[in-house]
Amino acid sequence: MSGTDGVFEEAGGRGTTVIDAVPLSLADLAPGARAVVLCVVADGELTVARRLHDLRFTPGAVVEVVRRAPLREPVLYRVRDYEVCLRRAQAECVHVTEAER
């Protein structure tokens, strides 16, 4: 699915009600999925927002889910030509739209 705006637009066009208004985050993606970063939302946690920005999870960046650790956390992502792993709590702050595989 796509992000909030997209959902409403699409849904409006078909005249149906949409309940799925929860935006997609990096944490929702399965290994192998690719997505484009929309924004970083870290409520009140300035450090998280800053760090994700410095790690280049910036709007427009293409992120690929590379691998999940055997215990399901952390997850390895590929962004801006390098690989970095995040825990679920941080991945949830990165809102994305899923790109085609």
């Binding site: 800053r50 650790a69 952390p74 030509d81 792993c85």
Partner: protein
């Protein structure tokens, strides 16, 4: 390179104050390799005033020129989120007391992650200090079919750009030459944008101008990770690596250890045979060879462990181990990298504590440091071996396992579990204040480490151990030997006390029993009495306060005074010489259990205390660690003794 004969550069050599050049860059950017290349490993380590952040300053020499090079803590950006990063920013802005603002900067950027690094480069260049961009890992970029035109990058950035392959030393010479011309370094005509939103566009345009093609994914890394991070195979390999780690301690190093042991036995035999003065022979044989030799025996084990750790780190497996263990560590409030530090502590707490430098969160760092001394280090091993030998007959088995081995395993496990719980407590206390740090970790591609780099890493860890042997342990052994053999008794005094002066064993037994050490041991008796320790154990425990290993040497000295032929049997047969328990055997099961548990917990290592002081920059943390561990040791030992008594031991 006409600028290298710049006038001002020549003038610098005559100034007492050399120009200060600071290295900035992301962690893993190859910054430290560049630093080592420039300064030739002659760096001074210290601390920034008042914080738990290590400071590295070295000198780069080029002909007559000297430059002070400082390796600033690695950071991903100039909006700091950790104390280390705060330091970097404060130094760059000249806001840190006791650390002058650098005259020029070397901005280190990894060529294989240039798309990410340029954001950081932009932030640094905007600070306006003379800067040179050092592009590292260009060899790897080429190998993985990436492309970068260094000249075009220089034009696009408007500053000096130099390619360097730090760990192979390529380009270091050129970089050193360029240091002399720092006053003439070009500044960008148009400074990079400061708006975060514009920075991405700027970075993309710079990359396009420099004909940048990112490296292909590292196929080897992908294939290896498919196995090593696989839920089943990855876990299996992880446990196999841990097995290998402990096999190194118990099997691989054992023959070497035996060899060294016989060497020292032979040496003290030679001393006995050739040194006629009993005083000198005792000092050399018992104090120096016995005390220090008993510890040096563990050098092969330590060196092998450090070699293994350095290899695993250099190849890139440690980052994977941290990735695999992060979830487990998270349960205790820590992160994957803390696992690596605690694993090193199995060899020795000192490199373990130093390994916490890789933790970006200061709170995680402190919690890990407070826990590290609980991991069963090699120094505890001889003590455990001795005490377990007294406690359990080697022939006793539980199922297919020897009971001695099981107890040893239990002690290792107890240490590890206690360390995790301690870390959790310290982290929980720390977390009540302020926000937690987000977790993130890069997984670098697998690299074949340069042998030199592995050896340097191994040596720097092993050196700490050898330093401890040559200072703390020599001093303790000698002082202890003196305490055990003084005051001197005249023959008349001995005869008056009813000692047969012709029986040297009786004389030395009497001397030890009436030595200053005995007075000291009896002085602290009220503290250790509830644990069942007699004055001789007290002396051992007190001497072990400097370094655990000396416990074995001390008891050895005491026992050999009573039965020089078979000190081990003397220990087993040792009885309380005075007090209400006089005549009863000392090494009963409850006492040995208490002693073992005491050694599991107590912080008996001056070197660890010193490293805690150095790494945290204050006496506060070593004091806290010492106090909580000593109190815990006593309480747990008391519990162990009571439990063993109740179990009918």
């Amino acid at each position: 390179m006409s600028a290298s004969c710049h006038d001002e550069g020549g003038a610098d050599a005559t100034l007492t104050e050399a120009p200060r050049i600071a290295l900035v860059g992301a962690p893993n950017s190859g910054k430290t390799s560049v630093f080592n290349g420039l300064t030739g490993l002659h760096a001074k380590t210290g601390n920034y005033p008042g914080v738990t952040v290590s400071r590295y300053v070295g000198t780069a020499r080029t002909g007559r020129h000297r430059h002070l090079v400082e390796d600033l803590p690695g950071t991903y950006g100039l909006e700091p989120i950790s104390p280390d990063e705060q330091i970097t920013v404060d130094v760059l802005d000249g806001r840190l007391e006791g650390a002058d603002r650098p005259d020029a900067l070397l901005v280190v950027a990894d060529a294989t992650t240039l798309r990410r690094s340029l954001g950081f480069v932009a932030q640094v260049l905007a600070r306006g200090l003379p800067a040179c961009v050092v592009v590292t890992f260009t060899d790897e970029l080429a190998r993985r079919q990436g492309r970068l035109d260094i000249d075009a990058l220089r034009q696009a950035l408007g500053v000096l750009v130099l390619p360097v392959v730090g760990h192979r030393g390529v380009g270091i010479g050129q970089l050193r030459e360029q240091l002399t011309t720092w006053r003439a370094w070009p500044a960008p005509a148009v400074p990079p944008p400061t708006e975060p939103g514009e920075r991405d566009a700027w970075a993309e345009s710079v990359l396009a101008f420099a004909g940048y093609r990112p490296p292909e994914r590292h196929r080897v890394t992908q294939r290896i990770d498919a196995v090593l991070l696989h839920p089943l195979w990855g876990t299996a390999v992880f446990f196999a690596v841990m097995m290998l780690f402990f096999q190194t301690v118990f099997t691989l190093a054992a023959p070497l250890q035996d060899g060294l042991e016989s060497l020292f036995t032979w040496l003290s035999g030679q001393v006995d045979a050739h040194v006629s003065s009993p005083w000198l022979s005792g000092l050399l044989g018992d104090a120096l060879i016995g005390g220090v030799g008993g510890v040096l025996v563990f050098v092969p084990q330590i060196v092998l462990l450090f070699l293994l750790l350095a290899l695993l780190e250099g190849v890139g497996y440690m980052a994977r181990a941290a990735f695999l263990m992060d979830r487990v560590m998270a349960r205790f409030g820590l992160e994957g990298r803390a696992f690596v530090a605690l694993l090193s502590s199995f060899a020795c707490a000192i490199p373990g504590i130093m390994a916490t430098r890789t933790l970006p969160s200061a709170r995680d760092r402190l919690a890990t440091m407070m826990a590290a001394p609980l991991m069963t280090c090699s120094a505890r091993l001889p003590v455990y071996v001795l005490l377990i030998g007294l406690l359990i007959d080697p022939s006793v088995t539980v199922g297919p396992f020897g009971a001695q081995g099981l107890v040893m395993f239990g002690l290792y496990l107890l240490g590890a579990v206690s360390a995790m719980l301690a870390a959790w407590v310290f982290k929980t206390i720390g977390d009540r204040r302020g926000q937690a740090m987000p977790f993130f970790m890069e997984l670098p591609p697998y690299r074949l480490p340069a042998p030199r780099a592995v050896l340097v890493a191994m040596w720097s860890s092993a050196r700490a151990f050898l330093h401890k042997c040559s200072t703390v342990i020599i001093a303790t052994s000698v002082v202890l030997w003196l305490l055990l053999n003084l005051p001197l008794h005249t023959d008349a005094q001995l005869r008056a006390a009813g000692v047969d002066t012709t029986d040297s064993v009786a004389v030395s037994a009497y001397t030890v029993d009436h030595s200053y050490a005995a007075d000291l041991g009896r002085l602290v008796a009220p503290v250790f009495d509830p644990l069942g320790f007699d004055w001789r154990i007290n002396v051992g425990v007190l001497s072990a306060q400097a370094a655990r290993e000396t416990f074995v040497a001390t008891l050895g000295q005491v026992a050999s005074a009573e039965d020089p032929e078979q000190p081990a049997r003397a220990l087993g047969a040792m009885t309380y010489s005075d007090g209400p328990r006089a005549g009863e055997p000392v090494f009963t099961a409850p006492t040995i259990a208490a002693l073992l548990i005491y050694f599991v917990y107590a912080l008996q290592c001056m070197a660890t205390v010193a490293v805690l002081r150095r790494e945290t920059g204050t006496w506060r943390w070593p004091t806290i660690a010492f106090t909580y561990l000593t109190v815990l040791a006593w309480l747990m030992a008391y519990l162990a003794r009571t439990a063993t008594v109740l179990l009918g031991g």
